[in-house]
Symmetry: C2
Subunit: 329 residues, 2 copies
């Protein structure tokens, strides 16, 4: 295999000089630089990163832990991470943990044995605690799922406020019996959004309709349909449904339709996340949008900055949400 030695011989210089040319470090005469660059091109040389990694003890790789990347919501975040990381000379190791603490243990190995420089974790608390319990503090940041008091840098939105805003929007449109379909309570987003929902109702002197909120472990279409159908069968019937994820909302929309009712006239619906298919259903889904790409970019930026300067104070970044008003509410 070709190495820096061949280049040095070809160019008639020492390997130190070749290294300096590659890294733009130290002083090297223009004429020498040209000789070396010519040799590099002639030989098609490319520095072995395995060796460089060992010597500099950094891999310029970051680990991204995702609970389930067939969930389209994470795609935007991951794109943000990928883009920002690349701009800063890093690459991304992506792992689907299935929100399973055991599976995650394997990945923490990667961090311990220096295969990656740091990690971004989108997993719930239960999984994140594993990262925290490591003897030597490992460099990582929490994204979307976070605990402001944990001493771990985080990036996310104010889920309680976002949910409250969504509910206030419904109240502003005259709705009074607002039901909620909640998510897996292992996730912080689920209980924060529930909290926001209850706060907004309380502010307006309202109470949740009977049976609300209803939770589900799998925030998908089928559960949205099922739970909404159950909610529609109680009397007095709710006049709005706030769902903590778009697939749930779309399922609920279908349930309303199948019950012979109209969206939004009889039951208004608001979702959460603004996934692509929110505009592919009729009526189009009103939903709370998170700045997914920017969440990812910020997480990557925070992590890489900490990598470069471990003494940096731990910071939390709260990004703004946005209510996208369409036709379903």
């Amino acid at each position: 295999m070709m190495s820096i030695n061949e280049v040095a011989r070809e160019a008639g210089v020492s390997i130190a000089t070749v290294s300096r040319v590659i890294n733009n470090s130290g002083a090297v005469r223009a004429s020498t630089r040209e000789k070396v660059e010519a040799a590099i091109n002639a030989l098609g040389y490319s520095a072995n990163r395995l060796a460089r990694n060992l010597r500099t003890s950094e891999s310029r790789l970051i680990l991204v832990l995702v609970p389930d990347y067939s969930n389209t919501f994470y795609a935007g975040i991951v794109q943000g991470i990928d883009g920002e990381a690349r701009r800063r000379g890093y690459h991304m190791l992506l792992c689907d943990t299935g929100a399973d603490p055991d599976a995650e243990r394997t990945y923490i190995e990667l961090l311990k044995n220096r295969m990656v420089d740091g990690a971004i974790c989108l997993d719930p608390d239960s999984v994140q605690s594993l990262l925290g319990e490591q003897p030597r503090a490992l460099p990582w940041v929490a994204c979307c799922e976070f605990d402001p008091d944990s001493g771990i840098p985080w990036v996310g939105i104010d889920n309680a406020r976002a949910a409250a805003d969504a509910v206030r929007f419904l109240i502003g449109r005259g709705r009074r019996r607002i039901a909620m379909i909640g998510g897996d309570e292992r996730f912080m987003y689920a209980h924060e959004r529930r909290r926001g929902y209850l706060t907004a109702l309380a502010e307006a002197g309202l109470t949740p309709p009977q049976g609300s909120p209803l939770d589900t472990f799998s925030p998908d279409f089928d559960d949205g349909y099922r739970l909404a159908a159950r909610m529609l069968s109680v009397s007095p019937r709710c006049d709005a449904i706030f769902a903590v994820a778009d697939p749930l909302a779309v399922g609920a929309m279908q349930a309303v339709h199948d019950a012979g009712l109209r969206v939004p006239e009889d039951v208004a619906i608001v979702g959460f996340d603004n996934v692509p298919f929110a505009t592919m259903v009729r009526p189009r889904l009103t939903t709370v949008a998170q700045p997914m790409k920017r969440l990812g970019e910020n997480a990557a930026r925070v992590l890489i900055e900490r990598l470069n300067d471990p003494e940096l104070p731990v910071s939390g970044t709260m990004l703004e949400h946005d209510i996208i008003v369409r036709e379903s509410a």
Copy 2:
């Protein structure tokens, strides 16, 4: 930083013995093994993979090149790759190329400088050719987008046959004026599916309705709507639409509805890929399913087997597609 030396000292053996214990290689007495393992646990030692990588000149990393990560169709494939790779002790570096040859150049660097052992490419031909033009043949396999004659191992489905089957299904249901909405012709899948469409029509002595097939660079809901609307305005009107991607099909469905027509009675619709939201629209979408997870698993398996034995003959693997009959056709 702790290294194998500390473990060796703690256990009172040489570093070679520690290495043998870690790797289960060579002969080591049971009592010695225990001493070493005790030392490893006491110190919380974990072998530095950067060093191991350099010494063994392998990273156990595979690069996965995806044209667009937010396209839900790729998520299943990537999950398949990830799962299979992990079972075999590999991890996955995921990169979103945006189907852009220039962006991909960066990633080929990773292959050249030994940062990754091999690659799986889901990108179109135009991008793949970059991988091929490298001086030293790089280990990679093509997935979904492939050219059987290129001498590169591949995994995919028979897109022409799958499209033909879909069209035959429509013909079998009595449809005669079957229009098609095609994709970006830079992608092999797009022209193969078009070929299959034309073949099936020809078999039955039919010709494409006027204006069909129509192509689009962005196979999304909006373009599906736009192109279907155009198709519906010509007379005699088509009685079926075959779309090469589900978002296109869903858009077409909406266009049919907005034109005051019914799916499937007036216009039947068949999509392609069986993405999750195919069951979230009404009527549910009839579509051609690819075994996404198995495609990914096979690609990973083929690549890793070649990594272990570079002399392996180049092979192509054709997986079966499946027509999922729902209500839209």
